[in-house]
Structure formats: structure tokens, C-alpha cells
Symmetry: C2
Subunit: 234 residues, 2 copies
């Protein structure tokens, strides 16, 4: 397999402070692979043999409870690293990563991490920032689940998805990968029935337009308003 072209990734936050030859050396240790929609990149509990960078597509990270319930932790957008369990000192992946859409991924063997990070300390700094911002996001979610009603949480989640992975279309902003009511329920701690009722309501009010695994925000500002409005303040 050919080496990855450095120009594809040179501007990513992960490689801040890493110049031409250094970057090329890092990339030489990686291989790329394609994952078709709905296939798993890795599974929860599996030996953490590699870490990853998403080149294109979208990857969903989810955790399964002992009782078999699934919770979606996040969606990975192109340019982000994921499956960095090895860097955090974990032996096994704490979640399952599934291609939400056909995806292309760079893969480094875990064994390369200590060597790379010793030679290129900027990698540690950049990873620390990436993990730090995920910690902030996770905290935000805890706060929302503690203080907001379901409708607000769904609104916040859609706004965030649209900002992270929105695509401008004629009628508004479309979330750029297939996402079901069930997925949104698993991101907001509710049931697919409740999500369906909420989205049906919004569709009738003209706020969104949606179909099978497809959501277009027609009036993003009014969804933001819903997200921020205190309950009862109607």
C-alpha cells in the first residue's frame, strides 16, 4: 500500500508543529483502510491494537452496557483522531467504533505510539488537547442531562451535529450522514418514540424536514432558541 500524501493531513490539529519530513516519517508508519457503512472499525473490549485518524466519512463511537443497552458517545468527523485508547494507557477499547457512512481511515499500530511520541513530543501535546476538548464535550453532555428536559437536549444535539457535520442545502442545513431516531435517542438518553414525537412536532412547525435517517434543519436559529429556552418559558 502506498504511503499517504502528507498534504492531505498537514493542516490537521493533530499535526500542529510537525513539519515536512517529520510528518512524512509519522505517516510512513500508518496504513489506510476503507470501512463500508455499518461495519465496525473496532469493538468494545477488544485488544487496543491500533489508533486511528478519520480521513473521510463518519464514525460513530458507542458503548454497550452489561444489560445490552447502547449509548452513542460521539460522532467522529473527518480530520479527527479516534480510538486513542493506547495513548491513554488503556489495554482495551472502551467503546465500539462503527462507520456511520462509508469511511476511509488511517491506522497506526499501538506499538508505534511510544516511539512516535518520544521522537515527536508535539504529538503528545496535540493529543492532550484533543482528549481535553472531548472531556469538555462530555461534561457539557452531563450538564445537559442533569438540568434539561428531553426536548432541549434533542435541540442541543441537533445543533451540535449540524455545526460539526452540517452541509448547506437549498432548504437549510442537512446533517451529513445517515442518522436515525434511535441514534438520537441514544445520544440524548431517551427513547426513539419520544424523539420521533419531538421531531414530528418540529416538522409540522416547519423547523425541520426529515426522512429515513435524514434530517434538514430549516430554521437553525429557532432550534437554537428551543435549546436555550428554560423549561416553562414558552
Amino acid at each position: 500500500m502506498a504511503t499517504v500524501d502528507p498534504s492531505l493531513v498537514t493542516d490537521l490539529p493533530m499535526f500542529t508543529g510537525l513539519a515536512g519530513e517529520d510528518l512524512a516519517e509519522i505517516l510512513r508508519e500508518a496504513r489506510s483502510a476503507r470501512y463500508p457503512r455499518n461495519s465496525d472499525v473496532f469493538s468494545q473490549g477488544e485488544d487496543a491494537h491500533s489508533f486511528f485518524l478519520l480521513l473521510s466519512g463518519h464514525v460513530r463511537a458507542s458503548k454497550t452496557t452489561p444489560a445490552g443497552e447502547q449509548v452513542v458517545m460521539r460522532y467522529v468527523a473527518p480530520g479527527e483522531i479516534f480510538g486513542v485508547a493506547p495513548a491513554m494507557g488503556l489495554k482495551r477499547y472502551p467503546a465500539t467504533a462503527t462507520a456511520a457512512d462509508d469511511s476511509v481511515v488511517l491506522i497506526w499500530p499501538s506499538a508505534a505510539w511510544p516511539r512516535l511520541v518520544t521522537k515527536f513530543p508535539a504529538l503528545a501535546t496535540n493529543t492532550l488537547q484533543a482528549v481535553g476538548s472531548r472531556l469538555q464535550e462530555s461534561f457539557t453532555r452531563v450538564v445537559e442531562m442533569s438540568t434539561e428536559q428531553v426536548e432541549q437536549r434533542v435541540a442541543h444535539t441537533l445543533v451540535r451535529l449540524a455545526r460539526q457535520s452540517g452541509r448547506r442545502v437549498e432548504r437549510g442545513v442537512e446533517i451529513d450522514f445517515p442518522i436515525s431516531r434511535q441514534d438520537i435517542a441514544q445520544m440524548t438518553g431517551t427513547t426513539l418514540h419520544t424523539v420521533s414525537r419531538i421531531l414530528s412536532g418540529w416538522e409540522q412547525a416547519g423547523l425541520i424536514e426529515s426522512g429515513r435517517q435524514r434530517i434538514v434543519l430549516r430554521e437553525p436559529d429557532r432550534i437554537v432558541a428551543l435549546a436555550e429556552q428554560a423549561p416553562g418559558e414558552v
Copy 2:
């Protein structure tokens, strides 16, 4: 102010891989300070001027929403670093840190971080692991809030607090710092009324013994069982 004695901190995860003189050099950049119970070490939104290591006592990190509601993110135990916003690239503290009990803290100016991490790359690795394990904890909390009922969440929270900061007493395991029903409510996303009702029930069942800001787990195993039992499985 005298330099901190390296022997006090040499075994902490934060300083793994750092030997005598290196450690002494790192500690020379820190000062120590005492915070009486209920005083703030730093406040949410404030300029992130420093990062910290807790030597003794307990510190509560909490976030306040725009609507004024508070959510407790975690309790810091002795030996842990906190307020590492600077290392994650944040300009301001994302939460408020309050001494839950009289506490002694090591303080490094943020400006020291880039210099220290360049000279001692192990610091970046160790911090990455610390932030990584917090991310795992935060994920655990999201999963619990998504899938469990309030009683299970309270049980899980008490078990975790007892493991992290429990002290053996004759009658069981006591949580080693003052903690109110309100604090537990803000950790589990419920109200102090509901927490009070749950703890009253457990007290009558002989599972715990409690008083003003004080909780003793008399039968930790049975609390663990409550935490893990599926709802309805009674």
C-alpha cells in the same frame, strides 16, 4: 516559602518516570497554599493562570449553567492533579473548584507548563493518562444517566465515592469528607428531595448510617448489588 519535599509526591502517577533531580526541579516551580473548607481554589470563567495538585483534603469541581443550576463534575482526591485547563489549551477554567474540606494544594503558574513539558516529556504522557481516565469516568456517568433510574445512579455514585475516598470505620466505610444530599443530587442529576428519600429508605433498611453531611456505608456489597440490579429486578 520553602520548596516542597520530593518524597511527598514521588510516587504519584503524575510523576511516573521522573527521578530525583528532575522532580526537584519541577517542584521548585510550585508553591503550596492552604484553602479552608468552602473556599474556592479557582472559579469558572476565570483566567486559567495556574494548574494544581492536591496534597491533602478534598476539592469539588462544579459547573454552573447560565440558568444558575449547579452540577458537581467530580471530587478530587489527594495526589490528583486538577485545574489542568492550561495543558488542554483552555484560556479559562471551565468549572469552579471548591475545597470540600480544609485542603493543601501545590500551585504551578500556567506559564511554567510549556517549559516543563518540553524538558520533561513524561509530564505530557502522565497528564494524558490522567485526562484520559477522567474522560472514561465522564463517559461512565453519561451511560448511567442514559440508562439507569435515580436509585441506581445514587448507589453507583456512593460506591465510587467510597472506593475513591472511603475510610474504614467500625461500622463500615465512611465517605471521608463532608457531603450533603444536595451535593449527591448535583452529581446524579436529581433533586435533594429524591436523594433524601432514597437515603432515608436505605437507612431504615440498615444499608447506611448517615447524618449531617456524613454517610457511612454499612453494607457496601448490598449497595453494589442495588447499583447493578436492573430496574424491576427486585
